[in-house]
Amino acid sequence: MPESHVLTKSFYLISTFPGRWDGGELWVEATEPQSAGGSRKARRADGVSSILITANDFASAWALDADNRPMFPVVPGGERQREWAFRTGVNIAMYALTGNYKADQVHVPSLLQRLGQ
């Protein structure tokens, strides 16, 4: 995943994506080169990855039992890692719903400025 990917800023600002484990890579679909992308379907036009692959086992970090207690310890550990795991989950959900919306926000100030002219 490129460092500036939308997933790093779709809701929370995050730079690592821990789950039950930390340190594993997060993989996203490579954006196709423009020349080969002529026949891509319309709903993929925003280039949102349809699959994410990681070795960090997100689900185990999110899993809570009936008493809202975590079911699995996180490694290397700490509630901070679990918090980041939850944030990762929120970002993934936002990414799925809003697509590259956040990537666009960078341009908003200049867009607004252009409006007056």
Binding site: F11, R43, D46, L97, D104, G116
Partner: protein, 707 residues
Amino acid sequence: MSEYSIDFSPMMPAPLFWAAVAIAVLLAVVLLLRRSRGALLRALALAAVIFALANPTLRQEERESLGNVAIVVLDRSTSQTIAGRPDQSDAIRKKLEAQLGAIDKLEIKWVTGARPDGRKRSGTNLYADLNAALGDVAPDRLAGVIFVTDGQVHDVPKSASALGFNAPVHTVLTGRPEEFDRRIEVLAAPRYGIVGQSRDIEIAVRETGATPRTAPRTVSLRVRREGQEDETLSAQIDEKLIVPMAFPHAGKNIVEIELAETDGELTAANNRIVIVADGVRENLRVLLVSGEPHAGERTWRNLLKSDAAVDLVHFTILRPPQKQDGTPIDQLSLIAFPTRELFSVKIKEFDLIIFDRYQHRGILQLLYYDNIARYVERDGGAVLVAAGDDYAGPQSVVRTPLFTALPAMPTGQVLEEAFKPKLTDDGQRHPVTSGLPGSNRNADGDPTWGQWFRQVDVLPERGRTVMSGVNDRPLLVLDRKGKGRVALLTSDHAWLWARGFDGGGPHTDLLRRLSHWLMKEPDLEEERLLAEANGLRITVERRSMEDEVSPVTVQSPDGSSTSATLEPVREGLWRTTIEASEPGLYKFESEASTGKLTAVAHAGVADPREMSEVTATRERMLPIADETAAGVFWTLSAGASEGADPNVPRITLLSGASTFAGRSWLALKDQQAFVTRGITLTPMFTGFLALAALLFFMTLAWWREGR
């Protein structure tokens, strides 16, 4: 007709024959030099032998004269339709017919040249028509060509050798010497312009021919623009004039400039110019406000992002103000929603505001909703509400001052069941929904597209319902509010079509047309009058939501008006075809419920070359006439009245002449062409005749010797 001639065909091969001739001549010379007796008689005997060997034959040919062909090319170009020229050329034709008909064995071929068909290249191309006619005329029978034209011919060959025949090329001119004409020349004209802006047309008034002394140097020009009062400008001859051309709408924009007719001017037909230029819309600005991240958001976003004509400003309420937790702000990727900027300062810059599942929740000050309602009604803006269940709830935008703009009020009920969106009767006709792929009903009476599952129940108060859902409850309501437009889509499930669920549906078409209708795309107007010219054939189309349409008034370039009735083609579409009698600007007008509809079409290829110079002239036809020893004749004197009887030169047929034209006569060249039907050959000096002659001379020689 018979022709006689004598042929020689020697009885032996030519070299032997010539050797025999040489020997005979040598012998005769020797005999004569030695002055021997009977030398002359012997020489005669030798000559008889040679003559017999030469085998003279009388040849009798049966010939048939083919007669001559004259081609008369009549110029029927547009410049021949002015200033009494049609009558004049008809009179000339009659006189030519009479004169040429009196010439024996002359075949006359009439060619109608340069008749405008609205497609050919520009100008009068009489030589092209002549060449076509020459195709079935043998060049050695062609006695001459007579052009009847005003002399404004645009394809005169550089030299007579290019003609391919040897015969005089005469011209009988229509019109009069010293004609005078004024016209408008276009120096520069825009081909396109941005809607709402204006570009310059540069023109100049030109004159040709002999200007009468009384003609004023200042002329007045009338500028006619679509949807504006006519404007009068004054201009000097040959002075550059700049006329601004406004682009009030997208598509074809037409400006017409007309020069007032001057007294004594040949024609007013070229005093009018028409500039056609495409209006191009500036990028449309759309503000998309998503009330919360939801599944349909990316459908809207991708549609608008991929639309090249749209600049999208998108905001999603990722976290409403009520939901605060302890997360430090620098760990959140949230930016403030610049409400004041968007909804107060720069609201008029947007062409369309879309509220996608938006709920009030105190995000915007109530004042801003008021702004939006005013923006629609007074400034001609547009609002689209794509409602989810929120529209029925307590935070609905209906409970804000925006409600005055909205066409339908929620009942509070949300219908959550499977249904297929259907087009209503209005929807079958409305340009936003008409002909959507998949809308055709299948055997069960349902459209073939996929199902949706949620709809907010509303009571329509205004506007037109073009789609319906559960139990025919309104699904898509369109409304015009003041100068602006409002649309309400009572379901947020259009994205199911995008995902291909249950077969999917035409979400792109529907949402794109919907947003462009809101932004007043002229192609999507409900009441539309369209005129499209193809050559001289004009198709007039009328789209309407009504059951009947009023007839269309057609104003021809000459100012006369007629009425045309449109025939129904299918529901909501009427059409008729008009054959234009002359090229030019046709104006169409029709009444509609929304006001007067206008359309303009320019029939025929504008032929600026043809009508640019219309004064009759000798100059163009003179070089070829000189080269072929022919003439160019005026038929009227300068200042003759338009209906005067034309003088056609006397016509004769000459053979072997070197000049074919005089002051008041013209001649055709008698080509004396014939075909040979049969030949009879009679030998003249063979057999007993030759033998007798030989014996006679020999005997005579002996007798002379013996004395």
